[in-house]
């Protein structure tokens, strides 16, 4: 029996390690151990005012704060019966787009690209490429900041809408940078194309929001390639969570079936026809064929979303008019849930609020919890195909596959330690 301990494998958000024992081609034991320190958000929200939920749940994640704010604000508004106007919906979509562009670019260029380039990080990559890539990421950041008042943990999103209206001319200025940034995104297609990643196909259930009106981000029905078609209110009736001893992240599965994948690949697979023309053209050039059953295609799906969402942001900025962005409401009790698409997939928030406006119970299921079980299932199918390789190579391929999910492990950053044990 051989035990190999391979140092820290990194460029993943959150603390986790992978335990793997292989006997020949057979996977004897496989555990994605998530040991991120728990922060008990569902507990610390209890007794807090409904107005604080957006502010506090933002702190679940320093990368996808926008989606946590938008899921939570929509859930609270459903409880209170708040109707928001089109201007608010537009700004929410625009800030969500900013958040996705920023997060996707962070993942693509800083976390995933070193795998493609064979480098430990992008610090040693071509500085020209780095500057261009970070300038692309910066337009996402700037979009969030203009609408949200701050980049990380925006401050303007409140129950009922926004505390202020961003000036149209500032957004128009940004439109110029968005056009420049899009060129970088399109030029990047060869960096993340099919020939850069392993060929590995796996059949699984891929779940995402879907909306006939638009490429679903903030609103839609929950659909899958295996026939799931439910409203966000039915989420808990169809998706169950279990706790496993080796992880502080709970595991999810579709009731009566099994693990499922959420995230950019699920979204692009399900809603491909709603991507912009240039994004679909880029897909054609990438060598991946969508719908794709290769989990590594998630990187290309991210890039396609960046291209398509820049196109859409330009349209939204054009259509945007300054004006009131706050709906009135009265406090009342009740419970409701809402789902938005985080960069990494569906993000479910549910709250029970008392008549006094204080939170009585919360149920939050971020995408990485939903994906955790699927990542293990993918690895179980992938490892036998690479079992002949060295322990080091197996570890690095496994990390690459885990990375393709862009786990935001407890929506945090640390390291994945991969331990491979060959029997």
């Amino acid at each position: 029996m051989k035990t190999v301990k391979i140092g820290y494998l990194t460029r993943v958000e959150g603390k986790a390690e992978l335990d793997l024992t292989i006997d020949g081609e057979e996977v004897k034991d496989l555990k994605l151990k998530i040991y991120e320190e728990p922060r008990f958000f569902e507990a610390l929200l209890i007794g807090r005012s409904f107005e604080e939920v957006v502010e506090l749940t933002s702190r679940i994640c320093g990368i996808c704060y926008v989606t946590h704010q938008l899921s939570s604000v929509r859930a609270v508004e459903k409880v209170l019966g708040v109707e928001v106007n089109d201007r608010i919906r537009l700004l929410r979509r625009l800030i969500a787009i900013g958040g996705i562009i920023s997060s996707h670019c962070l993942h693509l260029y800083l976390l995933a690209l070193p795998d493609v380039l064979g480098l430990p990080d992008v610090f040693t990559a071509d500085p020209k490429l780095l500057v261009k890539a970070l300038r692309l990421k910066a337009v996402g950041d700037k979009l969030v900041e203009l609408i949200g008042g701050r980049g990380v943990h925006p401050v303007t999103i409140v129950v009922g809408g926004f505390t202020y209206t961003p000036p149209k001319d500032k957004l128009m200025e940004l439109a110029q940078s968005l056009k420049e940034a899009k060129k970088t995104a399109v030029e990047s297609v060869p960096l993340f194309s099919a020939d850069k990643f392993p060929r590995f196909e796996v059949d699984c259930e891929r779940v995402a929001l879907s909306n006939p009106e638009e490429y679903a981000i903030n609103e839609g029905r929950v659909k899958s390639n295996k026939g799931l078609d439910i409203s966000e209110d039915e989420f808990r009736a169809f998706i169950e969570e279990t706790q496993v001893p080796h992880s502080t992240a709970k595991h999810s599965k579709v009731k009566g079936r099994g693990s499922y994948m959420v995230g950019p690949l699920s979204r692009v697979n399900l809603n491909f026809s709603q991507l912009s023309d240039d994004a679909r053209e880029a897909a054609e050039a990438s060598g991946f064929k969508f719908p794709s059953s290769n989990p590594f295609a998630a990187n290309m799906a991210r890039l396609l979303e960046v291209i398509s969402l820049i196109d859409e942001a330009l349209e939204l900025i054009d259509a945007y008019r300054e004006g009131p962005v706050r709906a009135p409401f009265q406090v009342k009790g009740g419970s409701a849930g809402a789902i938005t698409e985080a960069p990494r997939g569906m993000n479910y928030h549910w709250y029970s609020i008392g008549d006094d406006g204080l939170i009585k119970a919360a149920d939050i299921s971020p995408p990485t919890c939903q994906n955790a079980r699927r990542v293990e299932d993918d690895l179980r199918e992938y490892v036998p195909t690479i079992a002949h390789l060295s322990e080091k190579e197996i570890a690095s391929r496994c990390a690459m596959l885990i990375r393709a999910y862009d786990p935001c492990i407890s929506c945090a950053v640390h390291s994945i330690e991969v331990k491979v044990k060959k029997l």
Binding site: G7, Y8, L9, T10, R11, E13, E37, P38, R39, F40, F41, E42, A43, L44, I46, G47, R48, S49, E52, E55, L56, R59, I60, C61, G62, I63, L106, L110, L111, P114, P120, D121, V122, F123, P127, L130, V131, L134, R135, K137, A138, D141, G149, R150, G151, V152, H153, V155, T156, T163, Y164, Q243, P245, T248, K250, C411, A412, V413, H414, S415
Partner: protein
């Protein structure tokens, strides 16, 4: 010689590191002056110390964190608490006012698998050289610390309250004019008064300023109609475990 830097993370959301990455296209310039020896989020190259500068994000909430932060301290010349969680426990410390068992049972069906302690800032366990307050600290303040350590001087971090910055932006006072519960008078500056600038009260996300008049703030909040419960919640948010707030956070 480039400055040897380590970036470490404990119980937190990583927002402070993401703020650092938001230097975006300035990053290559910084890389001319510093070398990241350890930054797990951004690099697979993880080198053991010594570090000239350690940026530590996150609160301490498990027995393992305590050992790790002590080990980082031993290897680091200048150690900086990066953000509220590292400074005072931050948002995760809100749970310190409920029983550990209760928090675990609410979130996990089998809490026996979970190992956690009360949540503290890192200076509960190690000496901290500089405190970068904020949730998250503003990028220019983080870069101020880089500059200072490179030059071998003390960083100029603001000690006064948010009100000073608010005045610079010529905002109308939300607390006195509009009777809104703004925490600006007791909150450390550094954010640029971003919340009053976009029409909302300061929630205190930079934690206490130096020597805040907490008693007077409490009195003022009572005057505008806040209940004791509401006041406690305001002080038990980003810095409930800080020395100036601990008393009133119990109220």
């Amino acid at each position: 010689m480039k400055l040897k830097v380590g970036v470490f993370k404990f119980t937190s959301c990583s927002g402070c590191q993401v703020e650092l990455i938001r230097m975006n296209e300035q990053l290559p310039e910084l890389l001319n002056l510093v070398e990241f020896k350890y930054w797990a989020m951004a690099s697979s190259k993880l080198e053991d110390g010594p570090y000239d500068l350690a940026l530590v994000e996150g609160a301490i909430s498990t027995p393992e964190c305590i050992e790790e932060v002590k080990a980082i301290r031993e290897k680091s010349r200048v150690l900086v608490a990066l953000g509220d969680c590292a400074v005072t426990g931050g948002v995760p410390s809100i749970r310190n006012w409920m029983s550990q068992r209760e928090a675990e049972t609410i979130v996990y069906p089998k809490p026996g698998y979970i190992r956690s302690t009360r949540v503290y800032g890192i200076d509960e366990y190690v000496k901290v050289d500089y405190y970068l307050k904020g949730c998250p600290p503003r990028l220019e303040n983080i870069l101020q610390v880089f500059k200072a350590v490179i030059l071998g001087v003390k960083p100029r971090l603001r000690q006064h309250s948010v009100c000073v910055e608010c005045k610079l932006y010529e905002n109308e006072c939300l607390l006195t004019t509009y009777k809104q519960p703004c925490m600006g008078p007791v909150t450390a500056a550094g954010c640029g008064a971003i919340c009053p600038n976009v029409g909302r009260v300061c929630e205190g996300c930079y934690g206490p300023m130096s020597d805040p008049n907490v008693a007077s703030m409490v009195e003022r909040l009572r005057e505008i109609g806040l209940s004791d419960d509401e006041i406690v919640r305001k002080f038990r948010k980003y810095a409930g475990m800080s020395k100036p707030y601990r008393e009133v956070a119990k109220l």
